[in-house]
Amino acid sequence: MTQISDYMNSYRATWCPGCGNFGIWAALRRALVDMDLPPHKLLCVYDIGCSGNGSNWFHAYGFHSLHGRSLPAAMGAKLANREQTVIAFAGDGGGFGEGGNHFLHTCRTNIDMTYVVHDNQLYSLTTGQASPTSDQGMETKSTPTGDPDRPLRPLQLAVSAGATWVGRGFADDLVGLAQLYRQAIEHKGFAVLDVLQPCVTFNHFNTREWYAQHTHKLTEQEHNPADKAKALLLAGEWNGKIPLGVIYREQRPTYEDHFPQLAGKPLTQRVAARDVGQLIEQFR
């Protein structure tokens, strides 16, 4: 049986005391243990930022990529080895700003992997500048007179671009978040999980208390995740109560399903010289 300690190593976290990341990663370890997934069967592909710094104290195969680029790197690894569980991580800056194009187009593919975005509505490792999900008017180091841009509603984009599992969690809700992780990882297709997270050092507006007051958990009676029209509305909900839970879910063939080449042994086990004698005949 997989233990929580299997996902720990000897290094200590450098996040600020009270950072939302502690909850995000504790819930992930819980979900992985519940799924009994041994750490060598998991590949985490990290972005740059406070979320990516967590790569140092999470014991699983890890690839710490570049800012905004965790999705395409994860896609390459997943296509190469379908037997490996692959989770890509990002923050709201890398995920929706620098890597916005990859986000949209990976949703279209419906590749069978999970995308977890640590969303604290701020660039924090760079000490607090506005991000694509910062509220309009938010005063930050880079927007001292208030952010002029409207915030993205990334989960609306995810639903419309073709992600087949879309949900939102809250870093302090460990039990609920662990359940969302498990659903997202077990979903066959591209799962997008936006995790709201307080930045205790730089975001003095969207605080732990603010999130607790402004979020509510969706119930089964309230919302059927197969209802795409309602999912799009809920994914855009912000100023009243921000919905937490599964917003959208559908079953659709994955990217991998389109390639008979991917059936059978993973591509990592097939590397060998190929006879191309037949291919040259067309050039004569």
Binding site: N9, S10, Y11, T14, P38, P39, H40, K41, L43, V45, I48, N53, S55, N56, H59, A60, Y61, G62, F63, H64, S65, L66, R69, L71, P72, A73, A74, M75, G76, A77, K78, L79, A80, N81, E83, Q84, N101, H102, L104, H105, F259, Q261, L262, P266, L267, T268, R270, V271, A272, A273, R274, D275, V276, G277, Q278, L279, I280, F283, R284
Partner: protein, 581 residues
């Protein structure tokens, strides 16, 4: 300029979309089916319809490595072709022009033999569509050359084999209409040139550099090819996508070049073989990830086929203007390998070499080509698909890793190469880190001792260079052992140098199929006894000469440079060399 005596040169020109390239392919296939060898070279604008485009086919009884500047038979599908290219026609040559379109005064071109081919009327009489005009032109040309009609029909049938009997018949009828017109009206016996078809076994394959490298990538066991379209690299994507059912390779066109290189890096990290291709502008977008490959020590194989820059530049023309960029591309100070194949044979081999070096030394390998080598088509009778040896370097197995708790992915070793563990292997868990890291991959800044570790890691990555240099493809001498002057080529200037040597006694050449890191020992050996060293480059600033001087102190006596979007022509290069002798 001296005309190459053993080469016959045919050229067809017209508005883009009139099928000049298909005409060239037909002409070349007809020639190879009569035991001739060919070199096809096209100049065309970056538009689908309109603009001026030409395709030239050089024909000889021997393998050809570059196109002539002089033309023996010019086919003008429009008047502009005559205006632009009549001066290229040799004194004993001729111009066939479409008299149904060109009705202006051609007196200015009287010094040439002019043959009126009323293509429109011939098509009308044969009840054929205007799209067949190019086949009428090919037929008339081969009629004038008194070439075998049966061989021409055979070539057309082979070329259109996949398109049904109707298409084959229509194209044969069009070619025959041209052929008959030439026989009847052009008095072929008075034309200075003939082509006599001889029986041949299997005709030679006609390959571009891109075709050859596509075959090389497939042969080297690549499992995932990922590329965003960009001229002149796109035909590699078309080839590999078209072959995917046969090769079982996964081919993906992602949202942009940045995604392409990250998909390739992710796949290589996972432990398969992946490759990509782009041109200079696309690679500019990829440079940050080049550094990612270097820092994480993840193998990478990238083909860059250059065109003249900067910016959008000249998308369908040629230049060797990206060498300095690639030697220095990306932030940071790290080793990379640049291979510079000069012909399809070297391009095929470069793919296998690139994968082996990338995996053995866990670093990025770039294969640098350009439009001239990527898109020119050669008949290659001796092209052999030597299966590449697959060398994957140090990969730790599950049994070697059994019981390991924290795997030292970046263990400090004498040759700078540490064993990899592939995701999924028990005991091999590690972090591949784009941050500077210690031996397990953890960021060093957080854990003390950072400064010394940083230095050791830089030295570890750099140590690979001296170990891999002996494995690089060696400089090749072309021409005689003793010479008064030696040309130094890299990449696509090889072919032009080879042809120019035939026009130049007492001159030889040294070609470099790999330029970075500079294999200094092997190069000095090849340049031993050189009297006068002349670099030949398709760029303005002499990029290789600059790099060579900086890295080794070797300086050429002269540089021959061309940067108008065309490669050198052999006659042109020979003239320039003669001026130096």
């Amino acid at each position: 300029m001296p005309h190459r005596r053993d080469v016959f040169t045919w050229k067809i020109g017209g508005v883009g979309g009139q099928g000049q390239q298909a005409a060239g392919a037909t002409f070349a296939k007809a020639c190879t089916r009569g035991n001739f060898l060919t070199f096809n070279y096209s100049e065309y604008p970056s538009i689908i319809r309109g603009g001026h485009g030409t395709t030239q086919v050089d024909v000889a009884p021997r393998p050809l490595t570059a196109p002539s500047a002089a033309v023996n038979l010019l086919v003008a599908l429009n008047e502009e072709t005559i205006q632009l290219h009549a001066a290229e026609v040799t004194h004993d040559g001729a111009i066939i022009y479409d008299g149904s379109k060109i009705t202006g005064d051609l007196k200015a071109y009287r010094r040439h033999k002019l043959f009126n081919l009323p293509i429109g009327n011939l098509l009308q009489d044969a009840k054929l569509p205007p799209i067949s005009a190019n086949m009428v032109a090919v037929g008339a040309s081969l009629g004038l050359l008194r070439y075998s009609q049966a061989v021409l029909h055979h070539a057309i049938a082979d070329l259109f084999a996949g398109k049904g009997q109707g298409t084959i018949d229509a194209n044969i009828a069009a070619a025959q209409a041209g052929y008959d017109h030439a026989t009847k009206h052009f008095q072929p016996a008075r034309f200075a040139f003939t082509l006599r078809a001889k029986p041949v076994g299997k005709p030679a394959p006609l390959l571009t550099g891109n075709d050859a490298i596509s075959l090389g990538i497939a042969a080297a066991g690549c499992q995932l090819y990922v590329a965003y379209p960009m001229s002149p690299s796109s035909s590699i994507l078309h080839n590999l996508a078209g072959w995917a059912k046969t090769t079982n390779m996964v081919v993906r066109q992602p949202e942009d070049e940045i995604a392409a290189i990250h998909v390739a890096i992710g796949a290589m990290f996972a432990g398969t073989r992946s490759a990509l291709a782009t041109s200079g502008g696309g690679f500019a977008l990829m440079t940050e990830a080049l550094a990612l490959s270097a820092m994480t020590e993840t193998p990478l194989v990238a083909v860059v086929s250059s065109r003249p820059g900067p910016a959008t530049g000249l998308p369908t023309w040629t230049e060797q203007g990206d060498l300095k960029f690639l030697v220095n591309a990306a932030h940071g100070d790290f080793p990379r390998v640049i291979l510079t194949p000069g012909d399809p044979e070297e391009a095929f081999a470069a793919a296998g070499t690139a994968f082996n070096l990338a995996e053995k030394y866990q670093l990025p390998v770039i294969i640098l080509m350009d439009k001239f080598v990527s898109e020119s088509t050669r008949a290659l009778p001796h092209f052999t698909l030597t299966p590449p040896e697959i060398e994957r370097g140090k990969i730790a197995t599950a049994s070697e890793l059994a019981g390991t708790k924290e795997f030292a992915r970046y263990a400090l070793t004498a040759d700078g190469v540490s064993p990899r563990a592939l995701p999924g292997t028990e005991g091999g868990i590690h972090l591949a880190n784009s941050d500077e890291h210690e031996e397990h991959g953890f960021a060093v800044e957080s854990f003390g001792g950072g400064a010394l570790l940083r230095q050791r890691m830089v030295e570890k990555r750099a140590a690979k260079v001296r170990h891999l240099i002996p494995e690089l493809p060696k400089p090749v001498r072309l021409g005689p052992a003793k010479a008064k002057l030696t040309l130094l080529s890299w990449g696509s200037t090889k072919g032009v140098a080879e042809e120019a040597l035939r026009l130049l006694p007492y001159v030889n050449a040294v070609h470099m199929p790999a330029v970075w890191p500079i294999p200094e020992h092997a190069l000095r050996h090849a340049l031993n006894h050189v009297q006068q060293l002349v670099t030949v480059e398709n760029n303005f600033s002499g990029q290789f000469a600059t790099i060579l001087r900086g890295a080794t102190g070797i300086a050429p006596d002269h540089q021959l440079l061309k940067y108008n979007g065309q490669q050198f022509f052999p006659e042109e290069l020979a003239e320039k060399v003669k001026a130096l002798l």
